[in-house]
């Protein structure tokens, strides 16, 4: 993975920390449909992923997954059926979704590599997002 592995990279930093017992970490190259299956039963969900936002490589944003922010994009997606499509589908089907927050990192380079290889700006963003997440996880009741 290139910078599309940003979410996995954040997960690996968090895995080394002592997270609150109520926080479960799910790391992996799963598509949006599988994600929908995984989030059932949780009170809230945080998704961390690389996302094309038209920003400079390495910039990141945190936002609530309101439908108007997640565009349908059935073009080439590293996950084939992306997060945006899956959440919109769930909404159209009137399936219950917990509150979802997205930490999105603008990638510089997406490619298939034999191991996780982040570009410099993305690696910096990964550390910043991990830090922000830890603050959020430990500040919530």
């Amino acid at each position: 993975m290139g910078d599309d592995g940003a979410g996995v990279a954040v997960a690996r930093i968090l895995r080394k920390k002592n997270l609150p017992p109520s926080a479960h970490l799910l790391e992996g190259e799963i598509d949006g449909l599988t994600l929908l299956e995984r989030i059932e039963g949780y009170d809230r969900v945080i998704i961390v992923d690389a996302a094309e936002m038209g920003l400079k490589p390495g910039e990141w944003r945190a936002f609530d997954a309101a439908m108007d922010l997640l565009k349908i994009n059935f073009g080439p997606s590293a996950h084939q059926f992306g997060v945006g499509e899956a959440l919109i589908l769930a909404k159209k089907l009137n399936l219950y979704l917990p509150p979802i927050k997205v930490y999105a990192i603008q990638p510089k380079r997406i490619e298939f590599t034999s191991k996780l290889q982040l570009t410099g700006p993305t690696a910096k963003a990964v550390r910043a997002v991990a830090q922000a997440l830890l603050q959020e996880l430990f500040s919530q009741p």
Partner: protein, 429 residues
């Protein structure tokens, strides 16, 4: 039509990147190409020098959809190279896990990628309102398949319990009973999907084609078998696959292609159905009849329908496999494997077709040579020949209709393009 230029850059709703290039002048097709621009991924080179115990975890990463199939094709090849015979319990569990991948992959394809075309929809989302119950059935089937893969393979994608010799974790009898209950419940969802597909109008297209798939005397072959062809009276043993399958390269594509008796052939669900239909489960036979799929079917669009038939088979056969496992009882098995030099060839029917892995090991059990024959590689030439044959039928239509028709034909194959760009031989200066 005096002049037509179509260049579909990155066909949508397929795995990976492929382009369709068409040039028509005065109703004559001047150019028709199916191009694969994806970068080579070097897996055959990557595994050289690696110990056999590491190979399965590397090569499962060839694909995020058919990682289980790659794992089993590799394990089969490595076990044969090492002279190891897996136990009946191991084989039953492997077949069960392979069914999980088939259900998962086929459901994703026919449900989310192919189905929207038949309703003039850009994606599945509009169908959430017009066909809510059927979309929910598709979601439930996909979810069940994922959970089957989690239970037996240890993870939804890229299994971790599957090793040369057997398993790092066995399911409990309680877990299998629960899975059996869920599979039995899923039969109504399968029937709902069959009813939906029976109502669809498939594009009319026929081109006599050679179909190739694994065949076994006593089951619908997914795990192991001999190579069968609709053009051959006899099967070819897997170690002699190169007598049958001949790979070649074209200059405008990074993925290899293959031919057998003719200039191209097809693998996948339709090929398996055409060759092995008598071995389908009762539910699958009924599904085929309901959806008007009869052998030998030469309409590549019906590959979508053949996938629905195979999901019916996989669900019903999974129940049978669990019943056999529960009757035998799940037992921990001690396995001893000693490295030795040797060559082994493994063959598995993954969702998209026949997958072959061929490894040669040295005396320490390290790979000295590797070759992989990927289903989508085998289909690329047939896709292009189908496109060439289908295009004249479409020429009276608008450019948008022609483009959609060609894209639908490519989608019907369910190509896995990232898998197909797995190779490169590098000669260092």
């Amino acid at each position: 039509m005096s002049k037509l230029d179509i260049n579909v850059h990155y066909v949508s709703r397929v795995e990976g990147h492929g382009n369709i290039v068409v040039k028509v002048e005065d109703n004559q097709v001047k150019e028709m190409r199916w191009e694969i621009p994806e970068a080579p991924r070097f897996f055959e080179a990557m595994v050289r020098g690696k110990h056999y115990s590491d190979v399965v975890f590397i090569i499962s990463r060839i694909c995020g959809i058919c990682g289980i199939g790659h794992t089993f094709s590799a394990i089969q090849a490595l076990e044969k190279a090492l002279g190891f015979e897996p136990s009946e319990q191991t084989l039953l569990l492997r077949k069960l896990l392979l069914h999980g991948e088939t259900i998962q992959s086929h459901t994703l394809h026919f449900g989310y990628l192919a189905l929207p075309d038949f309703f003039g929809a850009p994606n599945i989302i509009p169908l959430a309102q017009t066909h809510r119950e059927q979309v929910l059935a598709i979601i439930r089937l996909h979810r069940l398949a994922n959970e089957l893969c989690d239970l037996i393979g240890g993870r939804t994608t890229h299994p971790i319990t599957t090793v040369v010799g057997g398993w790092t974790r066995l399911p409990t009898e309680g877990e299998l009973k629960e899975l059996r209950r869920r599979l039995t419940e899923a039969i109504s969802d399968v029937k709902a999907v069959v009813k939906l597909f029976a109502s669809l109008e498939m594009p009319q297209f026929q081109r006599e084609t050679e179909y190739i798939a694994l065949k076994k005397p006593d089951e619908y072959a997914f795990y192991d078998g001999e190579i069968a062809s609709t053009d051959d009276e006899h099967t070819t043993p897997l170690p002699r696959y190169q007598d049958k399958i001949h790979e070649f390269i074209v200059p405008y594509s990074t993925a290899k292609r293959a031919r057998a008796r003719r200039s191209s052939y097809m693998v996948g669900a339709l090929a398996r159905f055409n060759i092995n239909h008598t071995k389908l489960s009762p539910l699958a036979q009924e599904a085929a009849e309901q959806m008007n799929l009869k052998p030998v079917c030469y309409n590549s669009f019906m590959n979508n329908v053949a996938q629905v038939v195979e999901v019916a088979h996989a669900v019903e056969d999974s129940i049978r496999l669990i019943d056999v496992l529960l009757t035998r009882g799940i037992k921990e098995e001690k396995v001893e494997i000693k490295p030795r030099p040797g060559r082994g060839v493994g063959g598995v029917e993954v969702p998209r077709g026949l997958l072959i892995h061929d490894y040669t090991l040295d005396e320490r059990g390290r790979v000295v040579d590797a070759n992989m024959i990927i289903p989508t590689n085998q289909n690329h030439q047939n896709i292009e020949e189908d496109l060439k044959a289908y295009l004249p039928q479409l020429l009276g239509k608008s450019k948008e209709e022609i483009t959609l028709g060609l894209e639908m034909l490519v989608r019907a194959y369910d190509p896995c393009i990232s898998c197909s760009t797995h190779f490169l031989k590098v000669e260092w200066a």
